[in-house]
Symmetry: none
Subunit: 183 residues, 2 copies
DNA sequence: TTGACTCCCATAAATTACCATGATATCCCA
DNA sequence: TGGGATATCATGGTAATTTATGGGAGTCAA
């Protein structure tokens, strides 16, 4: 069962000491980048490190939806989605539209929209998921997929597109660091 | 800030909110320079003094990523990275900026990019880490590595390149002192 | 039946845990 | 203060696990 698989990972990673886990927030940390193969059946292994980050969640799998601004698939944990939903509810109950105030436009409907286009992808016993056809098309993924950790969420890219995108990202950062320089 | 801040561009850029004077700050202190051997499998001992600085962290290991502006590897503690991510996320969640959380349109992107290029390197039972091939290539590291403490973070250099850079740095400093007049 | 999907097993390669050793450095006690 | 006993550290090798990946058998629905 997938439970066993994940449990093994967890034991391995935190072997010896049974330290209290950081249960303070639903935030998982997705770090680093991995490229995996998509097999004939559309299955991909979710990187073990990402699975470990989700090990404490009830739902053993990920929430995936197409990025609205990039040719990529966005991935988060189920707990994160729940948290967003909860906060959204609180926000509307409080009656304060902070988004309107802060960024000059309302985010009304965004969470609902994401919910509606999201896919719940469960791990199989080997920690793989099946990428829905639609999402693969959106991201241009064929037989390889790059998992990109971005902290509280991650993305799945076509390796080629990601390479180009990351190069641009790093160049932009370099430019900023150089131009701003030390104060 | 350290006196070496001329070179501390990268972390300083976003460490404004992570000041050393904070009591519960996740900032460790990395001091001094050590040169260790990289074995055939890419393993290096992290200097005991650096490990001691990270002893109180949950994750026993380091976060490493290639420097954007130097041929070196940057190293920080996991707590530092988590803190950065947490603050960034709290900001967007508390502010009701779900767009940023869901589709990642960060005004900044720095933290997310660092997350994506970072590697989580756990200590083995002897306090070693395995340097990823990619990072070694970036830094020109082959069979020896120089760990350079820089306060809240550290760097890993190829010994030759580090020696050269340090010499250049000293030359520059000497030149500046000369031109400013003798003490 | 076909096709889509889930479960289960197999395996090669990569990763990690585990044990061993020499070299320093540190401590302790007469 | 000498000098052996003890710890720590850096380093090396091997064994055992995990991981990523592939494929087959069974299920369910049209």
């Amino acid at each position: 069962m997938s439970q066993n698989c994940i449990r093994d990972v967890e034991l391995c990673r935190f072997s010896g000491s049974v330290e209290p886990e950081e249960a303070d927030s639903p935030v998982s940390s997705f770090i680093s980048t991995y490229e995996n193969k998509v097999d004939r059946k559309g299955r991909v292994s979710v990187p073990a490190a990402f699975r470990a980050a989700l090990a404490s969640e009830q739902f053993q799998g990920i929430i995936a939806y197409q990025s609205l601004i990039e040719p990529a698939i966005e991935g988060i944990g189920r707990a994160m989605l729940d948290e967003l939903n909860r906060r959204r509810l609180d926000q509307s109950l409080d009656g304060g539209d902070f988004a309107q105030t802060l960024i000059g436009r309302s985010d009304d409907g965004l969470v609902e929209t994401i919910m509606s286009i999201s896919h719940e992808l469960a791990f199989d016993s080997e920690g793989r998921i099946i990428l829905p056809q639609r999402l693969c098309e959106h991201a241009g993924i064929e037989d390889r997929a790059t998992f990109v950790g971005r902290g509280s969420r991650f993305q799945i890219w076509s390796p080629e597109r990601h390479a180009a995108r990351q190069a641009a990202e790093l160049d932009a950062l370099r430019a900023r660091l150089t131009e701003d320089g030390p104060q």
